[in-house]
């Protein structure tokens, strides 16, 4: 890459102060929320408007330079990291809420709007934006679109794709297109559905029309403690089996609770329990009351020591803050953290939790579990110190074994963090060569040269290599 010429040309588009090229500056962009994947970008450009994004992508198209889009860099799969050949397009300056239409319950936002800021901004109208990834205080709506982000409340309300109506997109060649419709269901192929979760492979969304929902009239947040992780896991399945769909159902194990309770976000979780469950019900007051009675009875029957309800909105916020900041609190255990993200069928939860404990003990590691139990989305977090290479190796092996166990249980390699670069090696475990080839073909519809977030998500190997990788993967792990 002709760095100097590119710096100058990009500077003409966005102004020189919004192009970063000095090594120290690039250093701060070498990682996203997953510090184990590190790489210097060629340079960083920070557009302020959609017009600048179009010009930047046009320039990169003409000069055949790859690019990676980035929001707040809170992603957990190494997806928003670029290598030295690529330009990192940081969208944090594009943080305006362009329009709010309370009647139709829509908002149009730029990609750099922080998730939680959007809900705060529409709260006076009695509305909120539902998808609430745990990083919502920092992460951007653009990043949520790229990752099809989930969050505790996607159990009842669905993930990001269920809340996006329309997208203004700049394609990798610099042309602008509109996907979807602001009014409701689109006709023809669901291109919004295709774009959401494409992890930056299809272009950059510059204006996002989101659905807003009215705040539920009644909310009940319950905290239950369990003597074993298995009992808590079984309680989750029992609740779902009744047909009740809680707004959220979250589990934290003892190690996770200890880290949270030591932090500024201490929520009063019982530190002596093997697992705590956070269950939230919302809707009409009578229905919430009736469901709460049933859920409480099930939790107690399944072995909960106690079930308590949040006493006030402040108490409820505190219970949620503890859960949402749990991942950030892991630095209290050890300086490094391997965050995993996998899904298993809910019925497999009790067994997979036992299996994770076995893997932990076998490799003598510290694993804390904090996850969306209601939809079987696990986040085993391995705390370690990567300055010890032997430990780092054991962590890698354990991660692979956990993932293999989840796949063997009928699950998937990612629930909400995306594939990025971190899960690339696992892709052939769950998709055959033909499916991967089809994914690549779709990618090339949007981006024939594969310059957008190159090397991520869909492994680029020959079909034969895929088959070989797949052949031994589940037995011996990757590599």
């Amino acid at each position: 890459m002709m760095v100097d010429a590119l710096v100058e040309a990009l500077g003409r588009i966005v102004g020189p102060r919004w192009v970063r090229h000095r090594r120290a500056e690039l250093k701060t962009y070498t990682m996203d929320g997953l510090p184990t994947r590190e790489s210097y970008p060629g340079l960083v450009v920070m557009p302020g408007t959609a017009a600048e994004v179009r010009e930047i992508l046009r320039l990169l198209h003409l000069t055949d330079v790859p690019f990676v889009a980035r929001g707040a860099g809170t992603g957990l799969s190494g997806g928003a990291v670029a290598d030295g050949e690529a330009v990192l397009v940081a969208l944090t300056r594009m943080n305006r809420i362009l329009r709010v239409d309370p009647g139709r319950r829509r908002a149009v936002v730029e990609p750099g709007v922080v998730n939680a800021r959007l809900s705060e901004a529409v709260a006076p109208l009695g509305l909120y934006y539902v998808p609430d990834p745990s990083s919502q205080a920092a992460c951007t709506v653009g990043g949520n679109v790229a990752e099809n982000a989930g969050g505790p409340h996607c159990l009842k309300y669905g993930v990001t794709t269920n809340h996006i109506a329309q997208l203004e997109v700049v394609l990798p060649d610099g042309s602008a297109v509109t996907l979807g419709s602001p009014h409701g269901e689109p006709w023809g192929p669901d291109l919004v559905g295709l774009f959401v979760g494409s992890e930056g492979m299809f272009g950059i969304a510059t204006a996002i029309t989101v659905r807003l929902e009215p705040m539920p009239p009644s909310v009940r947040t319950m905290l239950a403690d369990f003597p074993t992780v298995r009992a808590a896991s079984e309680a989750v399945s029992s609740v779902i089996a009744t047909g009740i769909v809680p707004a959220a159902m979250e589990m934290m194990d003892r190690a996770c609770v200890a880290a949270v309770e030591a932090s500024i976000y201490a929520a009063g979780y019982p530190t002596d329990a093997a697992a705590v469950l956070l269950v939230e019900l919302d809707g009409q007051p009578d229905a919430v009351d009736a469901e709460a009675r049933i859920v409480e009875a099930i939790l107690l029957e399944r072995g909960a020591g106690a079930v308590r309800s949040a006493s006030s909105p402040a108490d409820r916020a505190r219970l949620w803050q503890g859960r949402k900041k749990a991942f950030g609190a892991m630095g209290r255990i050890a300086p490094d953290l391997a965050v995993q993200d996998a899904v298993v069928p809910r019925s497999a939860l009790p067994d997979i939790m036992d299996r994770i404990a076995e893997i932990r003990d076998h490799h003598r590691l510290s694993i804390s579990n904090v996850f969306h139990a209601g939809d079987g989305n696990l986040h085993p977090n391995i705390s370690f110190d990567r300055r010890d290479p032997e430990v780092a190796h054991r962590v890698h092996v354990a991660c692979t074994e956990i993932m293999a166990a989840c796949v063997a249980a009928g699950g998937s390699i990612t629930g909400e963090h995306g594939v990025g670069s971190d899960k690339l090696d696992y892709m052939p475990w769950i998709f055959d060569a033909e499916t991967l080839a089809a994914m690549r073909a779709v990618r090339r519809v949007f981006d024939p040269a594969e310059r957008a977030n190159p090397g991520k998500v869909v492994p680029i190997h020959t079909c034969r290599e895929w088959r070989a990788a797949r052949g031994h993967s589940l037995v011996g792990g990757v590599r």
Binding site: A24, E25, R117, A138, A329, P335
Partner: protein, 451 residues
């Protein structure tokens, strides 16, 4: 190169990014290099020798940190960012010269024979009314606005040595302050004292003695705040005494990494204040934060003992109620100085002080816990970033409904920076230290009249 630099307080950082929205410079630029997480990456690179302290870009982005510590209470892992940035600043200071502007400013604050005439002249200039006339948007206009904002907003007569008989306030009892209605509204704001910080012990005597830390800017441009401090403390049963031989607190030097200069000034103050009174009262949040940290800075018994006696004026007043004054029907937005809320972890006391003023309508805006961009000499050496940070706050004043008539904050730098900002924006907002408002309320309510 970094053999002695200890960055272990940064070890718990897992790079989650939850600190980003708490950082005023990140909010202003959206640049990872201007975020706490980005700066931690830079400090770790400095620690490992991957980047040197002479690296221009590294220095630029570490220098751009306001030192507000807004990131610390946002961090779930309890990363000691403040310790890290202080270590980095000392390392950078040792490796390069300060900017000419920085050297001049710090040099002035080291010597009373330099700062006192300079600020006294500024007061004379302020009295001509010219700064007020010239205040506005440009660099000069902003500076003039900052100076004009130092003038007292209250009509209380200024007499720096005015004393009130503490006998006259003999009837004051602790805890007779806030009205129940005000207490409720404060509770609704969710303001509580910081957990983990020991509550100040109850005053050992009915009329504890308090030595006033005079400082430099406070003792010249903000002498009216000293007067208000003295009057309101005495009205609440304290005996305020003078302690001679004080110097500038040294906070500006410490923030710039000039530890030697900070230590020299600290030693002067420890000697002057050590045996002066039961408490040392400070009405400048930035000075108070360092005075409370003298023990850590000097690591002497005397310094530790002195640091334990230091209180912000709002803490002493809140401890006694404070007694209510007369009505001031004002819309007041409280703005929390970073060095009070983050460095000293004093959250509720200033609100309690303002809560003792009947009819005062107290508001806490969403921007009130964000840095104003003053940050010691930051606004002088990095005016562009300081203004970008300030603009976010000024916009929130302009958007507030109703717009506050007064912004109250307990730090001279914030009073000047925000004062310059509201003048540049043409907003009809006056700046006041919380004790100035309490003082005004006491005057209106006849608290100072002899029984």
């Amino acid at each position: 190169m970094s053999a002695t630099a200890d960055y272990s307080s940064l070890d718990p950082c897992v790079h989650c990014g939850f600190c980003l929205p708490a950082c005023p410079t990140y909010l202003a630029t959206g640049d990872e290099a201007d975020s706490p997480r980005g700066r931690i990456v830079l400090m770790r690179a400095l620690e490992r020798g991957e980047l040197g302290p002479d690296d221009e870009a590294l220095a630029q982005h570490l220098d751009a940190c306001l030192g507000c510590l807004g990131c610390e209470p946002a961090c779930p892992s309890g990363v000691g960012y403040g310790k890290g940035i202080q270590t980095a600043r000392e390392q950078l200071f040792a490796a390069r010269r300060l900017s000419p502007m920085g050297s001049v400013v710090l040099g002035v604050f080291r010597h009373e024979w330099l700062w006192r005439p300079l600020f006294t002249l500024s007061r004379v200039f302020r009295a001509t009314g010219i700064p007020k006339l010239l205040s506005g948007r440009g660099r000069l206009g902003f500076a003039m606005g900052m100076l004009a904002a130092t003038v007292t907003g209250s009509r209380a007569r200024s007499s720096s040595r005015a004393r009130l008989s503490s006998r006259a306030q003999g009837g004051n009892l602790p805890g007779n302050g806030s009205t129940p209605a005000r207490t409720r509204s404060l509770a609704a704001l969710g303001m509580t004292t910081a957990s983990g910080m020991p509550d100040p012990p109850a005053p050992p005597s009915p009329s504890p003695t308090v030595a006033l830390f005079r400082g430099c800017v406070m003792d010249t441009l903000f002498r009216h705040v000293h007067d208000a401090t003295r009057r309101t403390l005495e009205a609440n049963g304290y005996t305020v005494v003078e302690a001679d031989g004080q110097a500038c607190c040294g906070a500006l030097h410490e923030h710039a990494g000039d530890r030697a200069a900070a230590e020299a000034l600290a030693r002067v103050n420890v000697a002057a204040l050590a045996d002066s009174a039961e408490y040392v009262v400070v009405n400048s949040a930035g000075c108070g934060a360092l005075l409370k940290g003298y023990g850590r800075l000097l690591e002497t018994e005397a310094a530790v003992a002195l640091a334990g006696k230091v209180r912000d004026v709002s803490e002493l007043l809140a401890e006694r109620g404070p007694r209510p004054g007369g009505s001031l029907p004002l819309d007041v937005a409280y703005d929390a100085p970073c060095h009070l809320q983050h460095a000293q972890r004093v959250h509720a006391a200033p609100l309690t002080v303002l809560g003792a003023i009947p009819s005062l309508r107290l508001r806490v805006l969403t921007s009130s816990d964000k840095c104003c961009g003053s940050a010691g000499i930051y606004s002088l050496v990095r005016p562009a970033m300081a203004r970008a940070v300030l603009d976010l706050k000024i916009e929130s004043f302009a958007a507030a409904d109703p717009m506050p008539g007064v912004v109250a904050t307990g730090n001279p730098g914030c009073l000047m920076q925000i004062g310059g900002g509201v003048r540049a924006a043409g907003l009809p907002i006056r700046l006041a230290h919380p004790v100035e408002l309490l003082d005004e309320s006491y005057r209106v309510g006849g608290v100072y009249e002899s029984p």
